[in-house]
Amino acid sequence: MNHTIEARAVKLGYGGKVVVPKIDLRVDKPEVISIIGPNGSGKSTLLKALSRLLAPVGGSVLLDGKDIHRLPPREVAKVMAILPQTVQAPGDMTVCDLVAHGRMPYKRMFEQLADADRDCIGAALEATGMQGLQHRRLDSLSGGERQRAWLAMALAQQPRLLLLDEPTTYLDIHHQLEFMKLVRKFHQDMQLTVIMVLHDLNHAARFSQRIIAVKDGLVFADGSVREIFTAENLRALYGVETTVMTIEQGGSSHLVCFPHDCCLPCGA
């Protein structure tokens, strides 16, 4: 079943300060969607609202047509997994223990992990290539391995929607690419809907089908990569002159952009 998530006239802010005045958007099919936009545009705030970490000041976020803040939190957690931008865990926690947390939404208070849960944890470890590291302490892992461990935890929730907030920010290019390819694989293999905030525009262009560009707390543009990923839009969003072109690699092609100079964003 396809799950839909929808923001209806959502107004977001922190302690009286409005960051997002009004946003409407709807996600109703399994796609990889990147939210892009300059610093302070409200893209992380928007993702927090979609993942119910931040309650809207006005409007509502609907999961399958129901207000996400009124649904039982555990039921939401069975459908939606989130990976915040900065995560922390005790250094002595093992990969396996971390991933096991992904089963929490499925367990009652006294209920222990059953074989089905272990299968699921094992599958998540395998899918992220972490099974060989399952007993390693988190503080003994590299940044890329640690991020994969967190991704495995999210997978163990068996979500249909995966929300990621700048998941590759602290990784080197090798691990960035590895992580993005994993995310794409999950989308293809499991028909997961992925919504992520990305800073790297070329990753957004290459790995997603849909781009939501956010500027000043409003949706500036929303559509397929071909429609949105243009030099005009990037100039308007970021105030940067870019050359956008298609490159062909190994039988597939995707858009890339090369920024070459700063300019005034249009409308600024």
Partner: protein, 335 residues
């Protein structure tokens, strides 16, 4: 098909720690009953439970030593559990039961009774308990902002401790002639603790142990940060409220029977974390056992070492606590 999650290599070590802790607790209890002005043998203790004779030895063992070690053990359990819970909820390694105002509230209330209404010293434990809960409630209210906010709670706790500490100092200054009797209580100790005190603390210990078993899963998830915990479907504000309230009850019941016994709630969770790691499923039971063993052993040493003078165990704990902090300082605090 069941995918094979290979057995956890830490399991054997954790079991060993738990069993050693239990053995240490048993030894501390036995020693605590045997050691004293009137030495008793293990056979005497056996007889008290199997063939009560009602003689002097029986009186000493049954009415003095046994309740004393039990109160000590339960106090250790409660303070250790409260410390574990608070360190987990507040995500702060320096959190201890004092941080939610429990010690300050209990201290001021108990001192007021002892100094202003010296005829009612029997009410000291009840007053301390009430004072602790009132103080915790004030800290709660001050730190409330759509749920208990950890940083606000710590700041509110420090502020309230300073304020109540001022109240205690004022009492001492204006009634300096009556301070003598309060000193022992403030230092924390188990002199003259009876079955009545056991009855005061035991319901909270039982409730605390039960709740600790229920809550270890939530504490583990809270360690992953508020956002991840919410993402896993936990009602973070509600869980935090419940856990801090539980810690307040545990700590309040402990100070009401033991006085201001510091450091147990801070040191024991730390030591246990070093031994078994930060998984609350193992941390909480091990900390409870080690807390009980430590308090009973420390109390036994404190009253035997300088016999016939009894050193309040709180002083003894403070002397244990300071070197421990220096150790942490050198090792570097890790959460």
């Amino acid at each position: 098909m069941t995918r094979d999650l290979a057995a956890d290599p830490r399991a054997a070590w954790r079991t060993a720690v738990a069993l050693s802790g239990l053995a240490a607790l048993a030894a501390a209890l036995l020693l605590g009953i045997r050691v004293g002005a009137v030495p008793v043998s293990s056979l005497d203790i056996w007889n008290v439970f199997v063939a009560p004779a009602g003689d002097e030895v029986y009186q000493i063992i049954y009415n003095i030593r046994v309740p004393r070690v039990i109160v000590g053990a339960l106090t250790g359990i409660n303070l250790a559990l409260a410390g574990c819970i608070l360190q987990g909820v507040l995500r702060n390694p320096l959190a201890d039961p004092g941080i939610i105002g429990v010690s300050a509230g209990a201290g001021l209330a108990a001192m007021a009774v002892m100094i202003l209404w010296p005829g009612y010293t029997a009410l000291v434990p009840a007053a301390a308990f009430a004072g602790a809960l009132v103080a915790a409630a004030i800290v709660f209210l001050l730190s409330w902002d759509r749920g208990v906010q950890p940083l606000r709670l710590i700041l509110a706790g420090v502020a309230l401790a300073a304020f109540f500490g001022g109240g205690m100092s004022a009492l001492m200054v204006f009634h300096s002639d009556k301070v003598q009797g309060t000193v022992n209580w403030l230092a924390g100790g188990f002199q003259g603790r009876s079955w009545a005190h056991v009855q005061m603390i035991v319901p909270y210990s039982l409730a605390g142990i039960l709740a600790a078993i229920l809550s270890c899963r939530y504490l583990n998830a809270l360690q992953l940060g508020e956002e991840v915990a919410k993402g896993l479907g936990i009602r973070v504000e509600r869980v935090r409220f419940f856990l801090v309230a539980l810690a307040a009850l545990l700590a309040a019941s402990a100070v009401s029977v033991a006085g201001l016994l510091g450091f147990v709630g801070l040191i024991v969770p730390h030591i246990t974390r070093m031994l078994v790691g930060s998984d609350f499923e193992y941390l909480m039971p091990c900390a409870a056992v080690l807390g009980a063993a430590l308090v009973v052993a420390a109390d036994t040493v404190a009253r035997a070492a300088f016999s016939p003078v009894e050193v309040p165990v709180g002083i003894f704990m403070a002397f244990l606590g300071a070197p421990f902090f220096i150790y942490l300082l050198r090792k570097g605090v890790r959460r």
